[in-house]
Symmetry: C2
Amino acid sequence: MSRTKARTALLRELEEAMRRSSAQGVLYGQTVANVAGIANSDLECMDILYLEGRVTAGRLAEVTGLTTGAITGVVDRLEKAGLVRRERDENDRRKVFISVVPEQAMKIGQLYVPMQQAMEKVFGAYSEEELRLLLRFATEGYKGVLAATEALKSLLDTPPEKRSDLKLKKLRR
Amino acid sequence: MSRTKARTALLRELEEAMRRSSAQGVLYGQTVANVAGIANSDLECMDILYLEGRVTAGRLAEVTGLTTGAITGVVDRLEKAGLVRRERDENDRRKVFISVVPEQAMKIGQLYVPMQQAMEKVFGAYSEEELRLLLRFATEGYKGVLAATEALKSLLDTPPEKRSDLKLKKLRR
DNA sequence: CTAAATCTCTTAGTGACTAAGATATATATC
DNA sequence: GATATATATCTTAGTCACTAAGAGATTTAG
């Protein structure tokens, strides 16, 4: 019994700690956007472009969950800031590929240096085996949160009379 | 050397996994706000109220980094939704305390159930000792990110000519 | 008692977003 | 090959949460 209680307390602490560090991570991202002088969504798109390389406007809309109209605005701003370029696909001229301008984008990359250094320092204190445990946890955690998100979204498709009587708005993705 | 390389690769994977799960966590929060039919900041304030209990409008502005004007809007919306109540401080009648209406707020709490279940399931696969490691990591990680955020913000106070030539906007916190 | 400080709210203006539809191009059908 | 349908992006009009600045209202200091 005492064993179980200790574990319960540990789990609560863990949840709290995870929440806090996650919230702080969000704040870091917002600060990066602020310092770079771009909107939050703009930074998110830069991130996607960095991960996926050359990507169409429609794909950005898909991944971010924004409308194509909003993406037009995002790309306009990023282009004006010299961070990305629009390139029409020569095979399918309806498509517009967005690609980063590496020299400019690198300046944004610089803003992640403090974070990387902090993380290096933290990771430095762990053995390789411990790091593997952390990796396993991060991977499983991601899957768990993804599943939870889907579960939550599916509430929206449940007819309202079968749900709690919260006032609900349409979800936009 | 091969040892070092393996570790480097592990670290990269870890960073990537952390980033992904963190991004998914943000998405979960946005989904909660969407399902509840309130704005993101409104949910953040509910969160603070839940953690800190009865809190003044000014304190909400402080913690969220929003202006007091924005908080007036947040509280207006939350009050209209029946989630919080405004109460004037009888000792200092300039102050307005905000407190949650438990019955209504509980409905929002329900929206975190899928997440909690997912997390329980993930945590279930770990021994108590492993959980302690995760807690240590989460705690240290939080501190690291916090420090990194401060370091990044301090760039803003550095005179522009000593910084990279990024176009910068004023930060708002 | 008056001046300054503190706390919230109001006002005017801005920027990112959505929904709906316009435009341009590509694909399928007869 | 012409016409209809589908696809990809952009445009337009309107909305909503936000900021900056300052207007009450009340408290604290001199």
